[in-house]
C-alpha cells in the first residue's frame, strides 16, 4: 500500500473504539447486561425528559388533591401534601441521579488521579496517600455525613460531595494496584525511552488498562450512593425542599397505613436502579474476564503454529510429507518400558470443536534409556509428556492411541490408578523449579510427605532417606536445606531438590520437562551432570522434553524430533546428529549458532591500534 492511497493515519480514538466494540456488543448480547442497560437508559431518559413526561410541578401542593388516587394526567395519584406522585418520581430521578453522579465523580476523580500518581511515581506520594486513604477508610461514613450536615446544613450536593470523598479509597486502591502492575510492563519503559511524556504515558498506556475496572467500580459506587442518599433523606436529614426518592419515602412513611402505595413507587425506583447498576457492573466484569481467556489462548496458539500472516518469520513450512523419518535402531535387547503409539491429544474449544495438539505420536522408551523429545514451542512435546502423566490441563484429553507402560495402557487407566502410579513408578521433573515447590512448607516436609504416602514408610525413616537424597543430589548442607523454605534457596538448588523428590520413590520412568531451561548455563551444566549420574546409578528410564540440542547431545541415547504435533524424525542420537534427514530437523541444525564463525572486530581503519581494552 502506498502512502498516497492512505493519506491519513487512522484516528487513534476510532481504532481504540473499534478494538473495543466487541465488548459493547457482547454486553448487549448478554441478557442480564441488556436488561440492566435498558433499565438504566429508561431511568436516565425519564430524568432528562421529565418536563415532557408530566405537566405537573413536582413541588406544587394542592389542598384539594391530598392523597387523591390516580386520574387522567396524574397516573400515580397524589401524596399527603397534594403533590403529583409521578411528577415527583421523574423529577426525583433527576436529583437522585445527579446526586449519585456527583458522589461517583468526586470519588472517581480523587481516587483515580491520586491512584495514578501514587502508582506511577510511588516514593513519598505513595506513602502519604496510603496514609490518607487508610484514615478516610477508617472514618464511619454515616457519622461523618451527619457531622457534615450539622456544620454545612442539609444540602444534597454537599452531602454527596462528602460521600464521594469517603468513597474515593475504593477507586484509589483499584487504580493503584493496577498501575503498579502496568508500570512494570516493558511497553511503559519503551514509551519512556521513546521520549513520551509521563502524562501521555499515564493517559495512553496506563489509563487504557485500568479503564474497564474503573467503569465497574463507578457503577457499584453509584448504586451505593443512591442507597445512602435515599437513606439520609428518609431519615429526614436531607434537603426537604427538593423532590428526591428518599424524600418521597420519608413523606410516604408518615402515611404508611393510609396509602401504602406511596411507599411502593420510590422504593421500586431505588431498588430497580441500584440493582440495574450492580448487574451492569457484574456483567461488564464477567464479559471482560471471559474475553480475557480465549484471547490469551488464541495468542498462544498464534505462536504455536504459523500465524495467519504469511510472513518471513513464520516457522519453517510444515513438510507435506507426513512420513516420519526413522533411523535404524542400534541392536538393543533392553525391554521396552514405555510404548506410545499413535497418540492424539486435543483441547475442547468453547464452540464445541476440538483443537488437536498432538497428532499421532509414536515413541518407545526402553528400560535404562534416555529418550529426548525435542521441538520448538507449540510442537506438542510437552503435551505428549503431560498426557503420559495424565496431567493435561482442563479441557485437554487423549483422543486416541495408546500409552503402554510396563504392560498397562495408561490412556485407559482411571484417575485413581494413575495417582498410584505417579510419583511411585513414573516421576516428573518440571521446568520451573521455584513455582513447583510450595512456598509455605519447608523443603524437608515436601520431600518426606510423598515418601510417607507413596512408600508407606514411617516419618523418621523418610526423613533419613530425604537427607541422604539431598546429599546425593549435591546439596552441600543437607540438614540446612531440609529445614529451609523454598525462597531461601537458589533456582539451581530448588531444581536439585525436585530431582531428589522425583527419584525418592525409586521410579522406573522419569519424565523431565525442560528441566534446565529456567537455569543459568553454568547451573544447567551441573544439573545435567547430576541427571546423568543419577540415571546411571539408578538405571532409570528418562523421557526428557527439551528445545536444546546441546542438552540432547549431552544426555540422550535416543531422540525424537517433533513438529506441529507429529514426530518427524526419530532414532539413535548419533545417527540423527550425523545424518539429519528430515528437512525440518536439518533446518533446526542449521539454526544452531554454536559452531558459527565469530563476527570479528569492527572494520575501521582508524581503530586498529586503539584497543588495549580495560580488562578487569
Amino acid at each position: 500500500m502506498s502512502a498516497s492511497t492512505n493519506p491519513t493515519t487512522p484516528d487513534v480514538g476510532a481504532s481504540i473504539r473499534a478494538a473495543h466494540t466487541p465488548l459493547v456488543r457482547r454486553m448487549l448480547r448478554n441478557g442480564t447486561g441488556l436488561t440492566a442497560i435498558v433499565i438504566l437508559a429508561i431511568v436516565i431518559l425519564a430524568a432528562i425528559l421529565a418536563p415532557l413526561l408530566t405537566g405537573s410541578d413536582p413541588n406544587r401542593a394542592s389542598v384539594q388533591d391530598l392523597l387523591e388516587p390516580a386520574r387522567a394526567g396524574h397516573p400515580l395519584g397524589f401524596d399527603a401534601a397534594g403533590r403529583d406522585v409521578f411528577a415527583r418520581l421523574v423529577y426525583g430521578a433527576r436529583y437522585t441521579l445527579l446526586g449519585a453522579l456527583l458522589a461517583t465523580a468526586v470519588a472517581a476523580l480523587l481516587g483515580v488521579v491520586s491512584g495514578l500518581i501514587a502508582g506511577y511515581y510511588q516514593k513519598w506520594f505513595e506513602n502519604v496517600s496510603s496514609w490518607v486513604v487508610s484514615v478516610v477508610m477508617a472514618l464511619p461514613a454515616i457519622v461523618v455525613l451527619l457531622a457534615a450536615r450539622a456544620v454545612l446544613g442539609p444540602s444534597l450536593w454537599l452531602a454527596m460531595i462528602v460521600f464521594g470523598i469517603l468513597l474515593s479509597p475504593a477507586f484509589y486502591r483499584l487504580v493503584f494496584t493496577a498501575v503498579v502492575n502496568v508500570r512494570n510492563e516493558l511497553f511503559v519503559d519503551a514509551a519512556r525511552v521513546s521520549g513520551v511524556r509521563d502524562l501521555s504515558i499515564i493517559g495512553r498506556h496506563i489509563l487504557s488498562v485500568v479503564r474497564a475496572p474503573i467503569i465497574i467500580q463507578a457503577a457499584t459506587v453509584a448504586g451505593i450512593s443512591i442507597a445512602i442518599q435515599a437513606g439520609l433523606d428518609f431519615l429526614g436529614l436531607g434537603d426537604q425542599s427538593i423532590p428526591t426518592w428518599g424524600n418521597m419515602l420519608n413523606d410516604a412513611f408518615a402515611k404508611m397505613y393510609q396509602t401504602p402505595t406511596l411507599l411502593l413507587w420510590p422504593s421500586l425506583a431505588i431498588a430497580i436502579t441500584s440493582v440495574a447498576l450492580v448487574l451492569f457492573a457484574n456483567t461488564l466484569r464477567d464479559e471482560l474476564e471471559r474475553s480475557g481467556r480465549p484471547r490469551r489462548r488464541r495468542a498462544r496458539r498464534a505462536d504455536l503454529r504459523t500465524t495467519a500472516l504469511p510472513v518471513a518469520t513464520s516457522a519453517v513450512p510444515v513438510e507435506s510429507a507426513a512420513e516420519t523419518v526413522l533411523h535404524d535402531e542400534e541392536a538393543d535387547d533392553r525391554p521396552v518400558l514405555l510404548e506410545v503409539s499413535d497418540l492424539r491429544v486435543g483441547y475442547d474449544q468453547p464452540d464445541g470443536s476440538i483443537t488437536q495438539v498432538v497428532d499421532g505420536v509414536s515413541l518407545r522408551v526402553r528400560r535404562g534409556e534416555v529418550h529426548g523429545l525435542i521441538g520448538e514451542s507449540g510442537s506438542g512435546k510437552t503435551q505428549t509428556a503431560w498426557s503420559i502423566l495424565h496431567l493435561l490441563p482442563v479441557g485437554g484429553r487423549v483422543l486416541g492411541g495408546s500409552i503402554v507402560f510396563d504392560g498397562r495402557d495408561l490412556a485407559r487407566e482411571s484417575g485413581t490408578a494413575m495417582r498410584r502410579l505417579r510419583g511411585k513408578r513414573i516421576a516428573y521433573i518440571p521446568q520451573e523449579p521455584m513455582s513447583n515447590l510450595d512456598p509455605s512448607f519447608t523443603i524437608g516436609s515436601q520431600l518426606v510427605e510423598p515418601m510417607v504416602v507413596t512408600l508407606g514408610i514411617p516419618r523418621a525413616e523418610a526423613k533419613k532417606r530425604a537427607l541422604a537424597l539431598l546429599a546425593r543430589v549435591g546439596i552441600p548442607q543437607p540438614e540446612r536445606a531440609f529445614a529451609a523454605y523454598p525462597h531461601e534457596v537458589s533456582g539451581g538448588m530448588a531444581q536439585r531438590v525436585l530431582i531428589a523428590g522425583a527419584v525418592s520413590c525409586d521410579p522406573d520412568l522419569v519424565i523431565a520437562d525442560e528441566p534446565t531451561t529456567a537455569l543459568d548455563v553454568t547451573v544447567q551444566a551441573e544439573i545435567l551432570e547430576l541427571l546423568r549420574e543419577l540415571q546411571k546409578d539408578l538405571h532409570v528410564s528418562v523421557l526428557i522434553v527439551t528445545h536444546n540440542f546441546g542438552v540432547v547431545a549431552d544426555l540422550c541415547d535416543q531422540v525424537s524430533v517433533m513438529q506441529a504435533g507429529r514426530i518427524v524424525e526419530s532414532g539413535p542420537v548419533r545417527a540423527i546428529f550425523r545424518d539429519p534427514r528430515h528437512p525440518y530437523t536439518r533446518s533446526l541444525f542449521e539454526a544452531i549458532l554454536e559452531d558459527g564463525a565469530a563476527r570479528g572486530p569492527l572494520e575501521l581503519a582508524s581503530d586498529r591500534h586503539t584497543a588495549p581494552e580495560g580488562t578487569r
Binding site: 521520549g195 543459568d520 553454568t522 551444566a525 544452531i592
Partner: protein
C-alpha cells in the same frame, strides 16, 4: 573515508548502580560495582552474563531506567548518567531499546501503527508522514504493511520482536540497547531475528549494546564482547577471542558449561569442563594457603 571515527559513541566508566532495599539501615543492593565499557559507532558490543550478574541493569542505566549512583555514562562526550526526565526525552532520537519479552513490550490494546507512530508523534511528525514511516519500518523488518492495523496479539513472538525492532528504528537512533532480544524465541526464529539485527546494522551503521546470556548468540553478532559477573566486567575484548579462548576463569567456566549440539564433542567438552573446574579449585586452594 567514511564519516565514522574511532571515537567511542558511548563510554560507561566505573558505573555503580544501587537499588534501595526496604528496611531501615539496610545497605542498598549494589547491582553494578564499577563496570566500564565503550561502544564505537557502528559497533556491536555483546554483554554476556548469567541472571543477576547486572547485565540488564547496565543496559537499563544507559537507557536512563536505572538509578546511577556512581561513575559516569558519556554519550557523544555528554554525561547522561543522571539526566532529568525532560533532558532524557531529548535523547530518544539517539538511544533506543529492544526488550527481551516480546509479549509485555507491546501495549496489547494499541494497534501496531499506534505503537510504531508513538515515538514519531512525540517528535511532532505529521500524521501522514508518520503513517508513511510506519509502513517503511514494517517493510524494513520484513512485515507486510497490512500489519499496521492489527493488534499485538495477532502476532507470534518472532513477529512481535520485529515490531519492537521497528519501534526502536523509528527515530533512526545511533545506539540500540538490545536486552536479550532473542532469548524468548525459538531456535529457527532466533536465527532469523539475529540476521535482521545484522542486516540493519550493516545498512544503517547503528551501534548495539547486545545483552544476552548466550555466548553463541553474542559471538555471532558482536565485534567485541564484555563478560559480566557479580556486577563487574571480568573480561572485555575481541569477540572471537573472548568467546573461544577466554582468559578469565569465570568466562572459561561459562564457555565450557554450554552444551554443544554434538554427542561426541559434548563428551569432550564435559571432560574439559571437569578438568577446568578441578584446576580452578586447585588454584584457588593454593591461593588461599
Amino acid at each position: 573515508m567514511t564519516g565514522t571515527t574511532a571515537e567511542p559513541l558511548l563510554v560507561v566508566d566505573d558505573l555503580v548502580v544501587e537499588y534501595p532495599t526496604k528496611g531501615l539501615r539496610r545497605p542498598p543492593f549494589r547491582a553494578l560495582k564499577g563496570a566500564s565499557l565503550d561502544i564505537r559507532p557502528g559497533e556491536c558490543v555483546g554483554l554476556v552474563g548469567e541472571s543477576g550478574s547486572g547485565k540488564t541493569t547496565l543496559g537499563r542505566a544507559v537507557l536512563g531506567l536505572a538509578p546511577v549512583t556512581g561513575g559516569s555514562i558519556t554519550f557523544r562526550g555528554r554525561e547522561i548518567g543522571n539526566l532529568s526526565r525532560s533532558q532524557r526525552r531529548s535523547l530518544s532520537d539517539d538511544i533506543q531499546v529492544v526488550f527481551q519479552d516480546p509479549y509485555s513490550s507491546l501495549n496489547p490494546s494499541l494497534t501496531i501503527e499506534q505503537t510504531l507512530s508513538e515515538p514519531l508523534r512525540v517528535k511532532h511528525v505529521s500524521a501522514a508522514d508518520a503513517s508513511r514511516r510506519v509502513r517503511e519500518l514494517l517493510d524494513r523488518v520484513g512485515l507486510p504493511s497490512d500489519a499496521a492495523g492489527r493488534l499485538p496479539r495477532e502476532f507470534s513472538g518472532g513477529q512481535r520482536q520485529r515490531i519492537a525492532i521497528a519501534r526502536a528504528l523509528a527515530l533512526e537512533p545511533a545506539l540500540i540497547v538490545c536486552d536479550e532480544p532473542v532469548s524468548a524465541l525459538d531456535l529457527s526464529t532466533q536465527a532469523r531475528v539475529l540476521d535482521l539485527f545484522l542486516e540493519i546494522q550493516e545498512a544503517t551503521g547503528v551501534s548495539y549494546l547486545f545483552v544476552s546470556h548466550d555466548l553463541a548468540v553474542v559471538r555471532h553478532l558482536s565485534h567485541r564482547v564484555a563478560v559480566m559477573y557479580h556486577g563487574e566486567i571480568v573480561e572485555f575484548g575481541d569477540g572471537d577471542q573472548v568467546t573461544s579462548a577466554p582468559e578469565n576463569p569465570y568466562t572459561q567456566r561459562l564457555l565450557l558449561a554450554a552444551p554443544v549440539a554434538d554427542p561426541d564433542r559434548q563428551e569432550q567438552r564435559r571432560a574439559d569442563r571437569r578438568r577446568l573446574l578441578d584446576q580452578q579449585r586447585e588454584a584457588e586452594a593454593q591461593a588461599s594457603v
